[in-house]
């Protein structure tokens, strides 16, 4: 037992009198008795080798803040970084709601004492459902990686087939996760994109009775919007394959949602909808399906549903089809479910409630317009070409003919600009959001122009032709 004098604010019963009273009540000489089942050979019997503690809160705060102070955030840098984590504005009300103790520290209360949590998550599901034009949305899973992996696994279970045809560019990290997650039952084959989007002709040649799912990413890893979805859906369905879409819902104020274009399972990440960047640590995944019990019963996540109560007109909430889950069925349940990302679902619900139809429509237009503006501004530079001719939302690639992408990045970092993510030697993935204004984009273009000019001849810039 540690010393009697160790009294800690987090541990009430370190108060010596309380400790003694409890030991007396249970008739134990010391806490050691409670560890009778831990064999002596397994006992550590020495203090853990950890840094000296900072018990006074002010010392702890100074220490941690001191470490964090060495970070320079995207508020201090002009950032065009995306690639799965996006710098969208988070309204203050969103943060206000999710930092409430009642939501932040709740967990698995019953529908009675946790009515508010159930309703908030039901509302999240419902708001997402409107954005996606689908009737069933889950309580969030971990992230868009997990959501798409599960969407494909659902397709595998629904069809009993073993092939997945991936027709879009996907983030390598996402592909890594998805592939490893589903490889016990499904093999992913890649159908290379052409001009940024799916090659439907090639797809048709690969479809057969063993294809469980066609996997579309839109916007793709390069920000390209899949404009051929109806044809893909038709071909897939003809082969009995399920169309699984991975997406970011940020554009659906102006863009037609996949469900309306025929997609069967729509998955993705909601970090864009009210979550800060958090170093890539605040993601949540959604899985949306039509209200078809065959699909619903394959979802592993919890689903909160509206129900009646003893009082007419009153809304109650509870778990829909709980017996699907691994909580109930262990390995016989659908995949597995655990503590995932409910708080981020509440955040996105607040976000969509604030944005409303007009906000989402205006934001979608702003993103489309600025993306196009940035494409034009960069493509106008000598030695810079757009990666493809697709319609892009938020992200796009440019290729440099005379310089390496990493050199552009290094040079611009020296000016406080993060110009984007290098996807290969000469290709840069650039992201614009509502946080990057037209003048920010102009600054980016000017800075890249400076880099391009430097290594050749600073007085005679190259001339070039480029398409609009």
């Amino acid at each position: 037992m540690t010393s009697e004098s160790f009294v800690h604010p987090y541990i009430p019963n370190t108060a010596p009198a309380s400790r003694e009273a409890m030991l007396a009540a249970v008739g134990a000489e010391s806490v050691e008795e409670f560890y009778a089942d831990v064999p002596p050979a397994l006992r550590l019997n020495r203090p853990l080798d950890l840094p000296a503690p900072l018990v006074a809160e002010q010392d702890l705060a100074r220490h941690v803040r001191g470490i964090l102070a060495s970070n320079r955030s995207t508020e201090e840098r002009l950032s065009f970084l995306g690639a799965g984590t996006y710098n969208h504005y988070v309204p203050a009300v969103v943060d206000e709601v999710i930092r409430r103790s009642e939501f932040l520290t709740a967990y698995a209360g019953e529908p009675y004492e946790d009515h508010g949590r159930f309703q908030a998550l039901f509302e999240y599901q419902s708001l997402m459902a409107e954005l996606l034009a689908m009737d069933v949305v889950n309580v969030p899973t971990y992230d868009g990686y997990q959501a798409t992996a599960t969407g494909l696994a659902m397709a595998g279970r629904l069809t009993g087939r073993g092939r997945v045809l991936l027709v879009s560019d996907v983030l390598p990290e996402k592909l890594s996760k998805v592939r490893d997650y589903i490889r016990a039952s499904l093999e992913i084959e890649t159908v290379p994109a052409t001009a940024g989007i799916a090659d439907v002709e090639v797809l048709r040649t690969l479809l057969d009775g063993e294809v469980a799912a066609v996997w579309i990413e839109t916007p793709s890893a390069t920000g390209a919007i899949e404009t051929g979805m109806p044809a893909i859906v038709e071909a897939a369905h003809e082969a009995g394959a399920i169309v699984v879409v991975g997406t970011d819902p940020i554009g659906y104020g102006v863009l037609t949602p996949p469900a309306v274009q025929g997609a069967d399972i729509v998955t993705g990440d909601i970090q864009s909808l009210g979550l800060h960047q958090w170093f890539g640590g605040a993601h949540a995944g959604f899985i949306a399906v039509h209200d078809d019990p065959r699909f619903v019963m394959e979802m592993p996540s919890r689903l909160f549903g509206l129900e009646s109560t003893d009082v007419p007109g009153e809304y109650g909430f509870g778990d829909v089809a709980y017996e699907r889950t691994s909580f109930a069925q262990r390995e016989e349940g659908k995949e597995w479910v655990g503590t995932a990302a409910a708080l981020w679902g509440i955040a996105s619900g607040v976000y969509l409630s604030l944005m409303g139809p007009a906000g989402m429509a205006e934001l979608g237009e702003l993103l489309l317009a600025r993306t196009r503006y940035a494409q034009q501004a960069l493509a106008a530079l000598p030695g810079v070409e757009l990666g493809d001719s697709a319609v892009h939302l938020r992200e796009f690639t440019v290729t440099f003919s005379g310089i390496r992408a990493v050199d552009v990045i290094t040079a611009l970092r020296g000016q406080g600009i993060e110009p984007g993510v290098a996807v290969d030697d000469h290709t840069l993935l650039v992201c614009v959001t509502e946080a990057t204004s037209a003048s920010d984009i102009d600054r980016l273009a000017a800075a890249i122009a400076g880099v391009i000019e430097a290594p050749t001849s600073p007085t005679s810039p190259l001339t070039k032709e480029h398409g609009a």
Binding site: Y252, F279, A340, R372
Partner: protein, 520 residues
Amino acid sequence: WNEPIIFELSTPGERGVSVPAVEQVVRDAVGDVVSALPEGIRRPAPPALPEIAQMRVLKHFLRLSQENLGSDLNVDIGQGTCTIKYSPKINDQLIEVPQLRALHPAQDPADTQGALELIWRLEQMMAEISGMDAVSLASPGGSAGIWTNIAMIRAFHESRGEGDQRDEVITTIFSHPSNAAAAKVAGYKIITVYPDADGYPDLEALKAALSERTAAIMVTNPEDTGIYNPAIREWVDAAHNVGALASYDQANAAGILGITRARDAGFDVCQFNLHKTFSAPHGSGGPGAAANAVSADLAPFLPGPRVEKVDGRFVVREAGELSIGHVAPAHGVILHVVRAYSWIMALGAEGLLTASQIAVLNNNYLLKRVLQIPGASAPYASGRRRIEQVRYSWQELFEDTGITSEEIGIRMADYGFHYWTSHHPYVVPQPFTLEPTECYSKTEIDEYVAALAAVAREAREDPELVRSAPHNQTVHHTHHDDLDDPERWAVTWRAYRRKYFGEVPADAIDRPVLEESLAS
């Protein structure tokens, strides 16, 4: 409050937040980008989201928050197996800075040294706490951490050419179900070992199940009964003897920090839950975070990216060829990394040990008190001490009164407490699981027990009062039948309006049916 559903608050024309206008210079350059969208890509009408001014949105969600019981407001002893600790407010404040909130994982590492350092430091700490050689914080939840465990185990066996041969995983019935479920997704057959008559994991049953087909044992210890497996070293040795790995679900580690370590018992891999054992808040059900700790043999299989310290600077490396790859975006849930780091730093080695000891003291005190309630029992390991929690039973009370454990749990809400009712599988009849952790005072434990005793008394004296609960909650007794019937369940407002009022959304579509393939 009887707060309406958010859609019912909509007033046409109201705005909750404004979006910047497209700059004129942009519009001049690009024209009308929405009209220029290709055929079929432009949404005909904006989504049918509600239109609500900002204050009313805020009010709505604040009111919903007040209809919720976070552990900050509750004595959350009843959330057994979930380790509801105090999440110190300072830790929430430490993360709420632009230096974390507005950090992007692809930034110049020179600009993210602070975040990388905290990841590195916590990995070092978790290695010491587990006794393991390498740690990853990438897994975004406890079950996700279990998945990472089995994914690494699978990759390990494959790397040795035994991937096909080893297709079974063994777990125990009182281990968290995600161990079985994740292994199943990874392609394994599951063998479940039941306890012996005394409630202890049955070593003989394990040995009978082990073979050269075994890929791993995946066990929680102490189990959800609060019983520590005294033969845990023998379990691990038995697994190793057949070439299997041993995976330790440390979800129930809150009573043994600084007492005993996973590696000391021979385990190859384990995971801790940062949102339980290390105090990060549960967030209404996530985000969570796990620390996966492994032996040197398994280190090459850890997920990426990895943070390393080189010449006093922190660098990010992609994981090597043997790695299972990425299990989530970027470095995992940095919020919880900082919180868990801060919690450990506030306690130190002596504090962690004390937290464990007090959690165990609290639990054994609670056990003593609960067993004084007529009708309550603690099956298994009778007369022995437990670690940090106990799975109790109301079987005797049920036999006397017909009142179920679930009904008692709901009635507890009327006293401002509750316990949760998910104790699948129902091996213990009429179960309830209490876990006081180190964070509740003797007085609070006494309050909780007094409420339990009062409800048990009501069950005998006025069973209808218990059966018809809740009586003073936000919402009244709900009709769960609605939720299991596809004709009546309503997972979203639009589904509800469609099913109950025949309202077809403007953007509803007729979905092509996939009868052929789905029929299979």
